[in-house]
Amino acid sequence: MTDSLFRSLIKDPPQCPIVVNGVEHQVPVQLSVAAALLYLGHLATRQHPVSGEPRAPFCHMGVCFECLVSIDGQHKQRACLRQITPYMCIETLMAGLN
């Protein structure tokens, strides 16, 4: 995680708590899971199962399957197709076979 490349258009947006890789964060309520990860500064959200290289959300419309993460225990979900909910547990797939 580094400084985020993104910011919210809205000043002081209402917040929602989510848990990413075991750490609780407050993020704007309106975010998709992929947007939340970008907002929090996750440059990459998974390790490619073939090349092992880092990958990040690409198309944001469910086509490319680059944004796969684990959501509330369901593995390999497309982060771009899901809106965040309070205390949603998100795990990025950055280590090992995913």
Binding site: P49, H75, K76, L97
Partner: protein, 384 residues
């Protein structure tokens, strides 16, 4: 033929004057293995492989990828011996093919398991295996496993598994890379390959044959389901019909999720789990269907419950090329010398045998015993 006009221009003009030694109709595993065997044995041969269109029915790319001896030919002694011989020739065949093509075809002879989900199924398997061992004079080796013994080999089996048959002679390969490697090795050896060439008619010349504008002294039909139609043109009865099989493929799973080869499932070298397979008589319809996909998923989840969490990534249906008794057909035309037909649904298991003894049969350089074995698999067995 019209369909080949566009490709004729790519072939040097002399080819049309000087007939090929062999034309092989069909660039699937059977055709490619035979071309590979022929060119290995007689490198001076001029061979042309004619292949179909991109979206033709292709049993070779729908294959499950097993080199499977268990149960093959339990009711057909020649086929039993032939399968066993084919599997035994595989290690040397694979070594050479990998060396020549530089393509890792992921061949492994780790042994195979067929699981029984009922005692009745287990006893049927047991009888078939005993028959196989008998036909091969003990050449075929196997062990009957009860549930505990099966679990010791493959942990994670579901409650409904009552036992299994294990044979060390079974194995697996990536059938797509096998086909790719054969094509590559053939081209390196100078075999010519022509895709998108649909063969409508075969013309019999005074000496040899004319196929889609190409002349050849000898011809082998390896056109899968089309062999029936093409065979008639060369006075050969090649009774084959389609049997659909549907296969599911999951995402990559952790290495070692499933260790052995099995007709029910196998883990590929990439890590995906490949799950098979249905037997449906639906004509030339090779589409996947909801009902059968669900049934296959039901079976595999019963077999190994932990697989339920894996995502299905691909599925496909393909048409097996089946003879009336399931065995291969090796036929020469009595009427037209130099015309042969090869039909089989075990293009992977028999690839090494097709590149080996079968090409000797085609070249008429086979010893007597082997000749008898191969000719026991001609179409005489279907005439009453």
């Amino acid at each position: 033929m019209d369909t080949c006009k566009n490709v004729l221009s790519l072939i040097p003009a002399y080819n049309q004057l000087e007939p090929y030694d062999w034309i092989i109709v069909g660039g699937g595993l059977v055709g490619a293995s035979i071309a590979y065997g022929l060119i290995q044995k007689q490198p001076q041969l001029r061979i042309l492989v004619l292949d179909g269109a991109d979206t033709d029915h292709r049993a070779s790319v729908g294959n499950f990828g097993l080199i499977w001896v268990q149960g093959k030919g339990h009711n057909f002694p020649a086929y039993a011996n032939w399968s066993l011989q084919g599997a035994d020739l595989w290690p040397q065949f694979a070594r050479q093919l990998i060396h020549e093509s530089q393509i890792d075809i992921a061949y492994q002879r780790q042994g195979g398991l067929e699981f029984a989900l009922s005692q009745q199924h287990l006893s049927v398997l047991s009888e078939e295996m005993a028959a196989m061992a008998h036909h091969t004079q003990g050449g075929f080796q196997y062990t009957l496993l009860d549930r505990d013994a099966a679990l010791a080999l493959q942990p994670g089996l579901g409650e409904s598994v009552v036992g299994a048959v294990y044979s060390p002679q079974d194995g697996q390969v990536n059938p797509l890379y096998l086909l790719s490697a054969l094509h590559k090795a053939n081209q390196l050896h100078g075999v010519e390959y022509q895709s998108r060439c649909t063969v409508e008619n075969i013309e019999v010349l005074t000496q040899g044959f004319n196929v889609a504008g190409f002349a050849a002294k000898q011809i082998v039909l390896c056109a899968g389901l089309d062999n029936q139609r093409l065979g008639k043109q060369l006075a050969m009865h090649l009774p084959v019909s389609p049997v659909k099989g549907q296969i599911l493929i999951t995402e990559r799973a952790a290495a070692g999720t499933f260790t052995y080869a099995s007709p029910q499932l196998r883990q590929t070298a990439e890590g995906t789990i490949q799950i098979g397979g249905s037997h449906e008589h639906t004509g030339l319809d090779d589409r996947s269907s909801l009902e059968v996909m669900q049934a296959i998923a039901d079976d595999v989840v019963a077999l190994m419950p932990e697989l339920a969490r894996l995502q299905l990534v691909r599925s496909w249906g393909a048409l097996r090329v089946m003879s009336p008794d399931g065995g291969p057909i090796y036929q020469h035309s009595d009427k037209y010398k130099g015309a042969f037909g090869v039909c089989c649904h075990s293009g992977v298991t028999l690839a090494a045998a097709h590149a080996g003894p079968l090409t000797n049969w085609l070249l008429n350089t086979l010893d007597r015993d082997q000749k008898i074995l191969i000719e026991a698999m001609n179409n005489d067995r279907f005439s009453v």
